[in-house]
């Protein structure tokens, strides 16, 4: 009886959870529907005749007009080596590079601000924290002009370098690093270790939970990054997944026949984040708890 009562109390939460799952299910099921089923009225909730045509349509011929036959996702972007997979590769590489490098940079900064006798470190920390209050859109144009002058438009450095300085990550790691006893660092210094060695061998292993939490946030943010890539990418081969998806959606949405392709692309785009979340769910929730971030 008590259990049933508990379930009933949780019922609204289940329903709320369901509302979040339904769009995902709709996307996934639409990706496997044949074109005629996409416009069926009333719509089908389960694909009656599942197909992979949205990914590769054998009947598609660019030179022949046929109703309800559209190019599959992997038949598009003929000028881009690898097609849609190239966009996924770009996203994966950029997200991974930014995550690794920005965490290293932020951890070095945090170490300098907490464990070294750096003159003015409090002021520096306040400046870092204060920079979080500047909306990122404000820095967009200066960053763009700098990247342009460096001739990094349409390149991986243009993607990666401006994203390496992350004030929130520094702030978070500083807070966490403060919980690591200074005695450990002093002991290492007495033993003759240099600062870089102490940072890498003593402090970084103790920072793993915080680094894992931040890594998840950075990876997800970079995987979904849209506006910066949109303005620096000038050639399809350098596009990331959100930019490619946006273009696919915006340029084909008027034709319902393309919906399965758009959904297939959305599915492929969201799968890595879902897998990543499921694999690192524990760290993700721990990261939220550590940082006090609220949804």
């Amino acid at each position: 009886m008590t259990r049933l009562k508990g379930e009933l109390i949780r019922l609204p939460l289940y329903l709320a959870g369901l509302t979040m799952l339904v769009p995902f299910y709709w996307m996934a099921s639409a990706a496997f529907k044949p074109v005629p089923e996409l416009t069926r009225n009333p719509p089908s909730f389960v694909p009656g005749d599942p197909t992979l045509d949205a990914f590769h349509e054998p009947a598609w011929d660019p030179g022949v007009r046929a109703d309800q036959v559209v190019a599959g996702l992997f038949q598009r972007y003929p000028d881009v080596p690898g097609g849609f997979l190239r966009f996924m590769g770009n996203s994966l590489f950029v997200a991974a590079a930014i995550t690794v490098l920005s965490l290293l940079v932020a951890a070095l900064a945090a170490y300098a601000l907490t464990k070294m006798d750096l003159p003015g470190r409090r002021v520096i920390f306040v400046v870092v924290v204060a920079s979080m209050m500047i909306p990122w859109q404000v820095t967009l144009v200066p960053n763009y002009l700098i990247v342009r002058n460096l001739e990094w438009l349409n390149s991986y450095p243009g993607y990666i370098v401006p994203a390496l300085a992350k004030a929130f990550v520094v702030f978070f790691l500083v807070q966490y690093m403060r919980s690591i006893p200074d005695d450990l660092v002093h002991a290492a210094r007495v033993d003759g270790a240099g600062e870089f060695r102490i940072w890498w061998r003593v402090v970084m292993p103790l920072m793993r939970p915080a680094l894992a939490a931040m890594a998840i946030f950075v990876v997800l943010a970079e995987w979904n990054n849209f506006l910066w890539p949109l303005i620096i990418v000038q050639d399809d081969t350098m596009a990331n997944v959100p930019v490619a998806l946006s273009r696919l959606n915006a340029s084909n949405a008027f034709n319902p026949n393309n919906m399965a392709v758009i959904m297939a692309a959305s599915l492929l785009t969201s799968l890595p984040t879902v897998i990543f979340f499921l694999a690192f769910q524990k760290h993700f929730t721990r990261g939220i708890a550590l940082s006090g971030i609220k949804g």
């Binding site: 022949v64 007009r65 309800q68 144009v141 002009l145 949109l230 273009r247 034709n255 319902p256 026949n257």
Partner: protein, 421 residues
């Protein structure tokens, strides 16, 4: 979270400001760099349209061995922001296509070449004057020439009209609203819908022209939006929503017509391409007609795309030559065929006489031909780009807040006058 379009708009504004410090005088013809030209063409629109344009570009290469053009699609949603970044940073494509007003906007920023230096007189001769006027800057510069057109079309279901006792598609405002009442009485839930700039200034502009009004004087020195004709147009436009139940939100016209939920639609010509393939049950059940006329006769907005060369291109002559070549019979024929084959869409060339060869039914071709006789493009007057959204807001207030049309138009005129300078 800010919407992507909002972000793109904010970015566009910021870059515009930044552009003021980074632009120079890049609009005079430059000497072409030596050697073969490799040009990048950003074609605003769908992937299929870009693929069709690539076929044309490949044909151009056969005729001009030393010029290679790579066509890349950019979406309408993000296209403006992308071209703006290219124009202000002097980096990006050699050729772009985009909205009719983009040429003047980016050209005045120094981002595009004035094609007058490359003799576009033949293209001017072949294009409807109303359209050419829209893309010519007040100073006479032509930064991009029309590439294709989008017209307003009146779509309807003859069977539903007949069932409601409406013998023919409405030819006048009065007939239109009578038809709405009859269709409503016959059980059609939403007799009339509107698409392409729904509940914004675009469809209102049709009523303005049909009432005999205008936004500015011909020489762009006066704002004329607060005329009596505009009041009549605004009242009629507002009554669509207030009295006749036209939805204020964008709707899926094809699906609604197919289900019989809608019987008539005022929408863009590009919709026609998606009806039969997107809604197979609609095949053979829809027809088109020119928009109903008002007290001043017929009138309709014409939109579309311009194509032009960027000012920083190293091959301005080659870029301009290709832009002009798009007006040839051969290029138009390729685009008409390929745009239809790849996307099922209708390519309407700025050369009206070539409409006869477009992949469309006789009924649609006739509608477009008739409509072309009474089209007006967006104004080329200074400040209209920034005024459009403000005008839409004042018009919407008439419907949403029961604002007096005269007051709303006076406010719109003040905004336009301020932007006109």
């Amino acid at each position: 979270m800010m919407h992507r379009r909002t972000l793109a708009a904010a970015l566009a504004t910021m870059l515009l400001a930044a552009g003021c410090t980074t632009t120079g005088t890049g609009t005079t013809p430059r000497q072409d760099a030596e050697g073969p030209a490799e040009l990048l063409f950003w074609n605003t629109g769908s992937d299929e349209q870009a693929a069709a344009m690539q076929v044309a570009a490949d044909r151009y290469k056969e005729l001009h061995q030393d010029v290679t053009i790579k066509v890349q699609a950019i979406a309408w949603d993000d296209g403006h922001a992308k071209v703006l970044t290219a124009a202000t940073s002097r980096s990006g494509p050699d050729i772009v296509s985009g909205g009719l007003s983009w040429g003047i906007e980016f050209g005045e920023l120094g981002g595009m070449i004035d094609l007058n230096g490359y003799d576009v007189s033949q293209a001017k001769q072949q294009t409807r004057p109303e359209l050419w006027n829209s893309i010519t800057s007040p100073g006479g510069a032509v930064y991009g020439i029309p590439m294709d057109m989008t017209l307003y079309v009146f779509y309807y279901r003859p069977d539903l009209l007949q069932k409601a006792g409406v013998g023919a598609p409405p030819a006048t405002w009065a007939e239109l609203f009578t038809a709405v009442d009859k269709l409503k009485a016959s059980g059609v839930p939403t007799p009339l819908v509107e698409e392409w700039g729904t509940f914004e200034w675009l469809p209102w502009f049709n009523y303005l022209k049909q009432a005999g009004g205008s936004l500015y004087s011909d020489d762009c020195t006066q704002v004329t939006i607060n005329s009596e004709q505009a009041v009549l147009a605004t009242t009629t436009w507002a009554d669509q929503y207030r009295k006749y139940g036209v939805p204020k939100a964008t709707v899926d016209v094809g699906a609604g017509l197919a289900k019989g939920e809608y019987a008539m639609a005022i929408g863009a010509s590009y919709l026609a391409g998606g009806f039969d393939s997107g809604q197979p049950e609609l095949k053979g059940k829809w027809q088109t007609a020119p928009l109903p006329t008002g007290p001043a006769g017929a009138g309709s907005f014409v939109g579309g795309k311009i194509v032009g060369a960027m000012s920083y291109t190293e091959h301005p002559q080659a870029a301009a030559d290709f832009v002009k070549w798009l007006y040839t019979d051969e290029a138009v024929e390729i685009l008409q065929r390929e745009v239809f084959t790849r996307g099922g869409e209708l390519y309407i060339s700025p050369r009206p006489e070539l409409l006869a060869k477009a992949n469309a039914s006789d009924n649609l071709r006739q509608t477009l031909q008739t409509t072309l006789n009474s089209v007006t493009g967006p104004p080329n007057c200074k400040g209209w780009e920034t005024s459009g959204a403000e005008v839409s807001k004042r018009l919407q207030a008439v419907v949403n807040d029961n604002a007096d049309p005269r007051t709303a138009l006076a406010e719109a005129a003040a905004v336009m006058q301020g932007n006109l300078g």
